[in-house]
């Protein structure tokens, strides 16, 4: 089976030959891995051996790229104009400050912090059709497919809630949910305009799957109350997925944390892949039994407890347990539920791969 066949089989809830394995690593952990194992052994963890995916998505347009844009490769949203040594401004005007190690950043300036519903019209929202927005062509996507890769499109940034609070500020947007509904609706509408534009491009490119990411929960509860999420955010997603479907059959939604309260809503709006299934707060087996016929579960391994704090034996057990509970009948991609952190022992990381190799083949014993 090549990767396309494998993904098509598992996403249709049938059993392929083996389970793809999606591992995310923090930059600091990668440095540690490289130092301890050496360059040669890193080849064993190549994504092409374990996942077989090619990505397609938007980038900064040509005009913005000309403004002395820098790229901090290890930082989420690390592309932008350098404001000072530690601060980067992205295309939307959001400023993020980097840590001394340059591996983390946080929003320090939100361009819409003082805006009101009326002045939102004066803010220049990013143009999904700006020249250079999508560098990949339809032909390139076709070529990847011919080579047997699974092609996944994305939006390049988080979708509605997160992008809205980066623009507005977390506390202010939360207050707006209660005190300024007109502003929230208008802001979400403006964001929808951007995502719809990108969505249309992804459809034209002919990607196999589209990823949407928006962290809306902590590990104990939803950040945005489900009632308000359904009022302001869900309708935007529904409009977006209406554009993606039926051309793009597979839609993945990512949110960290415990989002069980909105999973039925996600299914209703045509999401059919869920990521990252954080076992620290969601039981993968429970999700499989409740939604395994409608959702492909993607992820499931703990980067907070088992990998950094467990033993090699604990890691093997978790991989085995997760596979046994989620893999039967297909609809499962094994993966870490976030970045493997710097404090993870190398032997635990290696044990995770060994266990994925040992237990990740069908039929599941």
């Amino acid at each position: 089976m090549n990767w396309r066949e494998r993904f098509l089989t598992l996403l249709e809830h049938e059993e392929p030959d083996r389970i793809p394995f999606d591992v995310w690593c923090s930059p600091a952990f990668l440095v540690k891995l490289r130092n301890q194992l050496g360059e040669e052994k890193l080849v064993n963890f190549s994504r092409d051996l374990w996942l077989g995916i090619r990505g397609a998505g938007p980038t900064v347009p040509e005009e913005f790229a000309r403004k002395c844009v820098v790229h901090e490769p290890f930082v989420h949203y690390g592309t932008g104009i350098r404001v000072d040594q530690d601060t980067i401004e992205d295309e939307w005007g959001i400023r993020r400050r980097l840590t001394a190690t340059r591996t983390e950043s946080r929003v320090v300036y939100s361009p819409l912090k003082d805006a009101d519903a009326e002045s939102l019209d004066n803010y220049l929202f990013s143009d999904p059709n700006a020249p250079g927005r999508l560098r990949m062509t339809k032909d390139e996507v076709e070529k990847f497919k011919e080579e047997g890769y699974w092609v996944v499109g994305g939006f390049g940034i988080d979708t509605f809630w997160c992008q809205a609070w980066y623009l507005r500020g977390f506390k202010q947007l939360t207050i707006d949910l209660y005190a300024n509904p007109e502003f929230v609706e208008k802001l979400m509408g403006k964001l929808l305009g951007y995502y719809e534009g990108i969505g249309k491009h992804l459809v034209e490119l002919g990607v196999d799957q589209v990823n949407m990411a928006d962290d809306v929960a902590t590990q104990t509860e939803m950040i945005v109350s489900p009632r308000l999420w359904r009022k302001y955010i869900k309708p935007c997603y529904q409009k977006l997925t209406n554009i993606l479907r039926p051309k793009v059959k597979y839609i993945k939604y990512h949110s960290d944390g415990d989002i069980r309260l909105i999973i039925p809503d996600l299914i209703e709006m045509d999401v059919n892949i869920l990521n990252p299934i954080q076992p620290d707060c969601i039981d993968p087996a429970e999700l499989k039994s409740l939604y395994g016929d409608r959702l492909t579960l993607w992820g499931g391994l703990s980067v907070q407890d088992t990998l950094p704090h467990g033993t090699v034996n604990d890691v093997e057990k978790e991989v085995k347990r997760t596979i046994e509970s989620c893999a039967p009948g297909g609809g499962f991609v094994l993966g870490t539920s976030n970045n493997v952190t710097q404090d993870t022992p190398i032997e635990n990381f290696l044990a995770m791969y060994e266990a994925a190799e040992k237990y990740g083949r069908y039929p599941i014993r």
């Binding site: 840590t99 983390e104 977390f170 939803m222 489900p226 309260l261 952190t341 404090d343």
Partner: protein
């Protein structure tokens, strides 16, 4: 005095009714209701909000909004409080060094302020010694450490060590909170409590306060 005003005031806070809350605070003041009584009613309203949060009727967004409303209301009431109506205690708060996440810290901060604590917020990326310096300077009885990243949270052990070195370990309780906090950290890092969410953290801090801390 019209107890009815206080009932309605509490209801307005619990239901995050912005318009009526403002109006009822002013009404209670103009009726000459004892400010401390008003404050007690509002605090019991915050407890009910915490209860709703525990029951998954309320979520983080409601906690943030309630904290904001309470902060605003406290500002209106403050000039009317008597000098002897002192706060519950002092707490030094911060996100541990190497960690820049502050949403959790902001939530516990507004809950603490609403409950009557005096909070000294050191911000994010805070080195262990800064927590201890501030606790000494303010004579705070509690240090609250916020952490999301498992890689950074081990640094809380350094706070405990610095407190010991300064000879004030017995005077200051240390609580660590956030997604990375685990019960075993109490033993491993020598902290007094490790909790997952803000409401549980607040409960513990209040319990310490009720027992007069030590």
């Amino acid at each position: 005095m019209k107890p009815d005003v206080l009932d309605r005031l509490k209801k307005a806070l619990v239901e995050l009714d912005l318009v009526n809350l403002d109006r009822l605070v002013n009404e209670s003041l103009s009726l000459g209701v004892d400010t401390m009584k008003t404050l007690d009613v509002l605090r019991s309203g915050m407890e009910e909000i915490g209860q709703r949060f525990e029951n998954q009727e309320y979520f983080v967004s409601e906690l943030v909004m309630a904290g904001e409303l309470m902060k605003k209301t406290l500002n209106v009431l403050k000039p009317h409080l008597k000098a002897e109506d002192r706060g519950l205690g002092k707490i030094v708060l911060g996100t541990i060094i190497g960690d820049l996440h502050d949403i959790g810290k902001e939530i516990i901060k507004s809950l603490l302020i609403s409950s009557g604590f005096e909070v000294y917020d050191l911000g994010i990326d805070v080195p262990p010694e800064k927590f201890v310096e501030k606790a000494k300077e303010t004579e705070a009885e509690i240090i609250g450490v916020s952490a999301l990243l498992s890689t950074s949270i081990a640094k809380t052990a350094d706070i405990v060590k610095a407190l010991k070195d300064a000879g004030i370990r017995d005077d200051v309780k240390v609580i660590v909170g956030g997604a990375a906090a685990r019960p075993w950290m109490v033993e491993k890092y020598g902290v007094d409590a490790a909790v997952y969410d803000a409401i549980k953290g607040l409960e513990i801090i209040k319990r310490w306060q009720r027992r007069n801390i030590h």
